[in-house]
């Protein structure tokens, strides 16, 4: 069953066409990685998919609730870690407090943050903050979890801990859409990869297909990365 279907999505900013007729579907349990150079439209695609941006044309169909993990976390600084995770399920979803707290503590344990529930975001490292924000998104019990470059604001040594969390979620068959610059990670964790370039899907398929593709733009992009 597909949980997300985007059909013929178009989006322009001030006359600049950022998305040119993009269509994709995400199946339940699938991990989709979206890669591509800066300015290729991958973040805009994610923002359209999560309703933060309204597409100019096209159609988006969801199955159930979705969550988003931001590049710079966007935790609520005035709330403790626990409150960051529990406030929306209690206030928005009107779920029972005890149940939400128990679930939140379970999530914190999974993220290796069980001793941090009283801490405030400013007292945590970037990697810890990002793990809290993943827990916050998961506490809403989303059907799909979107990630917008979840490691781009982190030091290389903190990147690994976030990638591991995402890998663990993939092992539990969480449906995820991940915009990322981490090529090896995309290769290892994704079932399906979309390579975007200049507002179109230039290449897509399994990791083997995409990384083995002879698409010129794809090769150029990978070449640049390898030279870094």
């Amino acid at each position: 069953m597909s949980l997300l279907e985007m059909k013929h999505i178009k989006k322009s900013f001030d006359g600049l066409e950022v998305l040119k007729d993009i269509s994709l579907t995400v199946e339940e349990g699938e991990v989709l990685a979206i890669i591509g150079p800066s300015g290729s439209g991958k973040s805009t695609l994610l923002r359209c998919a999560t309703n933060l941006e309204k597409e100019d044309a096209g159609e988006i169909r969801y199955e159930g609730q979705f969550g988003l993990v931001f590049q710079n976390f966007n935790l609520f600084p005035h709330y403790s870690v626990l409150k960051n995770i529990t406030d929306a399920p209690i206030r928005v979803q009107k779920r029972k407090k005890d149940e939400v707290y128990a679930e939140a503590r379970e999530l914190l344990k999974k993220m290796g943050l069980q001793d941090k529930e009283e801490a405030y975001p400013c007292q945590l490292s970037g990697g810890q903050q990002q793990r809290v924000s993943i827990a916050r998104a998961l506490a809403m019990n989303p059907k799909i979890l979107f990630f917008d470059e979840p490691t781009s604001a982190l030091d290389p040594e903190l990147t690994g801990e976030i990638l591991k969390v995402i890998k663990d979620l993939a092992a539990e068959h969480m449906t995820m859409v991940i915009v990322t610059h981490e090529m090896n990670f995309a290769k290892n964790v994704a079932d399906h990869i979309i390579f975007m370039d200049k507002g179109v899907i230039a290449e897509q398929g399994t990791p083997e297909e995409v990384f083995g593709s002879d698409n010129a733009r794809m090769q150029e992009f990978l070449g640049k990365l390898n030279n870094d």
Partner: protein
Amino acid sequence: MNIISIIAQLAQGMKISILIFAATLLFSLPLGLVVAFGRMSKIKIIQWIAKVYISIMRGTPLMLQLMFVYFGPYYIFGLRIAPGYQMAAVLIGFAINYAAYFAEIYRGGIESMPVGQYEAARLLGYNKFQTFFHIIFPQVLKRILPSVTNEVITLVKDTSLAFVLAVAEMFTIAKQIASAQTSMVPFIAAAAFYYLFNLIVAVVMERIEEKLNYYK
């Protein structure tokens, strides 16, 4: 007249000064938020009305505004001025004047909030009301507190302007005693009162700031 009796008389005025101070904050802080919303409204006409309002309130002397509020109903609408309207006029004048200043402080604070906070709240399903009052506003308060402290300190001193409508606040009484006794003492006592009042305000505001320092 000895110092004790001067201070006893001034104390009566202090009560009025403190009343003007407290009532002004009570009315102008919420009113300022309403004006700030108007100023940030997407509806052009509302935005424009708020802009003109703020411009007039900030651009003309408070003393003159108090006189307008007091005499305006008579000269403009021909209404008879009820006895005892002075105090009401003072409170109205102060509230609408300070609301304009607070509105701009609120606006500065609200506009300084990163858009990511709104986006995170939206993704988590908070409605607009919940987003503002639970996520945005508590953080705005922390950001604007130093500017609010400034206004509150100015307000303590501004309460003396109520003398133009002959409201018996402390400065009005100090002036009366001073001219009757040809003495500087009432003025010195008044100065000490305002200074002490503001010292308390500063300490209280600092406490609140410290309390909000639990996060960055």
